[in-house]
């Protein structure tokens, strides 16, 4: 793990998620000259979200590459660079633009380690700003993580807060496996947190109980974690005590804390913006339904985006899981 370079003083600092990822990238690039950043507009512009702000200025054009406009090209050349010994961090500008790269991701990135019987490592991070709620046009608010969780050979993670973002991006870059790194874009600048760079972060592929509670469990990841925390805070006022788990790792899933929680609460509600059909949430329901077969007092319920394309943004409020829908679903579970 790279030594954090955010600030020379060890004093905790307030930091946005955007800044946290930037700092994490910077630390990784400082620590290992083989780490490259590549993508559309990641150089001078610093990316459309400014996540790579200043990196090209400080590390040069050979380490921060403004690529031609083609996502298959970004991932395909990153693979070649990885074979050459580099550790590329690719930025996909928006969730909906990862699909031109799907073939390279599924057929090469995910399979080369297997095909080569371990002789070729694929230490590539694909950063994807994802999720909705930013009032944008089509293809800019999607949640494609389930496609990748379904794909053997990939690792998939999502951060939900600046501190995790800072550590997780470095852990992802450190990994010798390809990691799809989903960043909740609407939180880039919306919330700050205190970052203490002197701690040892928990391992990348672990979930975390953010709030403990006795009546029901909420499990979520990325942008929906905040919705769950808000819901739990609201429920507490009505005397309902909700446990909240941030899954963090979507592949492999770390469900032991979920099982443990459900064994206590008997109720589980999953929250995600992604369409629910054949999704990550379906997988979690399946595993929990089996592992906690005798503990569940109600079926595991899901709060997902609907099984439609992402709607025009005036409708996203009704599309996205929010506090009301979560609590409504908790009520349904408790009343089962």
């Amino acid at each position: 793990m790279a030594a954090p370079t955010l600030d020379s003083s060890a004093k905790p600092q307030q930091i946005t998620m955007a800044k946290a990822i930037n700092a994490g990238l910077r630390a990784a690039m400082d620590a290992d000259p083989k780490v490259l950043v590549m993508g559309e507009d990641v150089g001078k512009l610093g990316g459309v979200f400014r996540i790579t702000d200043g990196l090209q200025k400080d590390f040069g054009e050979h380490r921060v590459l403004d690529t031609p406009l083609a996502e298959s090209g970004i991932i395909g050349t990153a693979i070649g660079l990885a074979i050459r010994g580099y550790r590329p961090v690719c930025e996909i500008q928006f969730d909906g633009f990862i699909f031109p790269a799907f073939d390279q991701i599924v057929s090469q990135l995910a399979k080369l380690h297997y095909r080569s019987q371990g002789k070729l490592k694929m230490p590539i991070v694909v950063r994807v700003p994802f999720g909705g709620g930013i009032g944008s046009v089509e293809h800019h608010s999607e949640s494609p993580e389930s496609y990748f969780a379904h794909t053997a050979g990939l690792r998939v993670v999502s951060c939900s807060n600046p501190v995790d973002a800072y550590w997780m991006i470095q852990q992802a870059i450190d990994s010798d496996d390809p990691v799809l790194f989903f960043e909740p874009k609407r939180q880039y600048y919306s919330s700050k947190a205190e970052l203490d760079t002197s701690i040892t972060p928990q391992p990348l592929h672990t979930s975390r109980v953010l709030r403990s509670g006795a009546h029901a469990t909420l499990a979520s990841y990325g942008p929906s974690v905040k919705v769950c925390l808000d819901s739990a805070a609201a429920a507490a006022q009505d005397g309902i005590d909700l446990e909240v788990i941030d899954l963090r790792s979507l592949s492999p899933l770390d469900l032991d804390p979920v099982y443990a929680s459900v064994r206590r609460t008997g109720h589980l509600v999953l929250v995600s913006e992604s369409p629910g059909e054949a999704s990550l949430n379906s997988e979690i329901v399946s595993r929990v339904s089996q592992e906690c077969f005798y503990s569940l007092q109600a079926p595991v319920l899901r709060v997902n985006g609907f099984d439609t394309p992402y709607p025009p943004s005036k409708l996203e409020e009704d599309f996205l899981p929010d506090l009301d829908r979560v609590l409504h679903t908790v009520d349904r579970s408790l009343a089962w």
Partner: protein, 404 residues
């Protein structure tokens, strides 16, 4: 101008710099000098408003036609500026400015016949105008009330396509269909296409040329002799990336690797754009498609209203391009040659003010779509899974007594 012919018959003994990569001069004369289109640039009206001739692409044009083109450009620009302002006022979530690209779009758009088809990207407000799309119909996309509202079949203008390059393949398929339908190559003895012969025009940017889909569109159209005009607006930038991030050569030369014509036209010269587009469409209707046009122009404003171009380009560059304004040169030409009087210009100004008012009023009054629009038209045929989700949602919302 760079001379890539030599790179086909490469000489093993020629010195490195000329054998395979452009020389410094080639580079300077070519891409990097973004404000000069180079020797191959087709131009009929100079930035100073002087009519020049071109051996291949000249056209005769009536004063009334030229005034109409002027009017188109002024109104299109007004729509653009007004919409940009509406975004600043918070009435639109986003706007994609076309400022500076009026001539390219109006020239291309007015070259099309009613039965021709167009496939736009997301910046083609000027082409939309020429296809008879009311500018108010563009607003829903940017206000977030719809993903596109016009009838693509009726208007012969596809929906805006945001995923870079996708529409190029769709256009190639459509143009194949035109040929399969026998709407191509029915020329008379003089080689003039039949009145109902058809062609398709597909719009994309300089950045898009890197996408695999654009290449595949070139391959398909070439192999199926599709009546398709690839209209690439090279506005010098793909967000923050200049054209040399996408190509060593001027983009119109890309066509030579596929075996169809590539022409670079002054994209700020509406006459030249009209002339070259007309020629290209005619070639396509005659069965000689596809054709690539590179309209050499400039994005005068930000990429979108969320972009900050000061981070990646110098204002000098913008200032230089201001001297090539597509509207000013027509105004100068019309005025200098007595083809339009003050009353004409005033009248256009007034029309444009009225249009702006209408746009504004329409915009602020667009109703929010009802929540169950989320489920509308996901499928053409009934889908019980969605029907149930829709009912659940409506029931849930009803629980709030409409207050949600």
């Amino acid at each position: 101008m760079s001379s890539p012919e030599r790179w086909t018959a490469a000489r093993p003994d020629s010195p490195a710099a000329t054998a395979a990569t452009p020389t410094a001069e080639q580079v300077i004369a070519g891409l990097r000098a973004t404000s000069e289109g180079g020797a191959d640039l087709v131009q009929l009206l100079t930035p100073e408003g002087e009519r020049v001739t071109h051996p291949d692409f000249d056209i005769d044009i009536e004063p009334a036609q030229l005034r109409a083109l002027y009017r188109d450009m002024v109104l299109v620009r007004r729509v653009d500026r007004e919409s940009n302002a509406l975004q600043r006022k918070g009435e639109l979530a986003l706007w994609v400015p076309l400022l500076g690209q009026e001539a390219a779009q109006v020239g291309a758009g007015r070259a099309m016949r009613p039965q021709d088809m167009a496939f736009p990207s997301y910046r083609e407000h000027g082409v939309a105008w020429c296809r008879g799309i009311d500018p108010t119909d563009l607003l829903g996309i940017f206000r977030g009330t719809d993903h596109g509202s016009w009838d693509p079949i009726e208007k012969r203008f596809g929906l805006y396509t945001i995923v870079i390059g996708n529409q190029v393949l769709n256009a190639a398929g459509y143009a194949m269909g035109q040929r399969f339908d026998g709407k191509v190559g029915n020329s008379d003895a003089e080689g003039n296409p039949a009145a109902d012969d058809e062609a398709t025009m597909c719009f994309f940017g300089d950045g898009a040329t890197s996408q695999g889909d654009v290449h595949e569109g070139f391959v398909w159209a070439a192999v199926y002799d599709a009546p398709l005009v690839f209209f690439c607006q090279n506005n010098q930038w793909a967000i923050s990336e200049p054209t040399e991030r996408q190509s060593r050569l001027p983009l119109y030369q890309r066509a030579r690797g596929y075996g169809f014509p590539g022409v670079r036209v002054d994209g700020n010269d509406v006459l030249a754009c009209l002339a070259v587009s007309r020629w290209a469409l005619k070639e396509c209707r005659r069965g000689n498609g596809p054709v690539l046009i590179e309209a050499f122009t400039y994005r005068m404003d930000a990429h979108t209203t969320t972009d900050d171009p000061t981070r990646y380009r110098l204002s000098d560059e913008v200032e230089e391009w201001k001297l090539k304004d597509p509207i000013e040169r027509v105004r100068a030409y019309l005025a200098r040659n007595g083809l339009a009087d003050a009353a004409f210009f005033e009248q256009i100004q007034e029309e444009s003010d009225q249009l702006a008012v209408r746009l504004r009023e329409f915009c602020v009054n667009i109703p929010d779509p009802p929540p169950d629009r989320i489920f509308a038209n996901v499928y053409a045929e009934a889908n019980p899974v969605l029907e149930r989700q829709r009912e659940d949602m409506l029931g849930y919302l009803a629980g709030f007594g409409g207050e949600h």
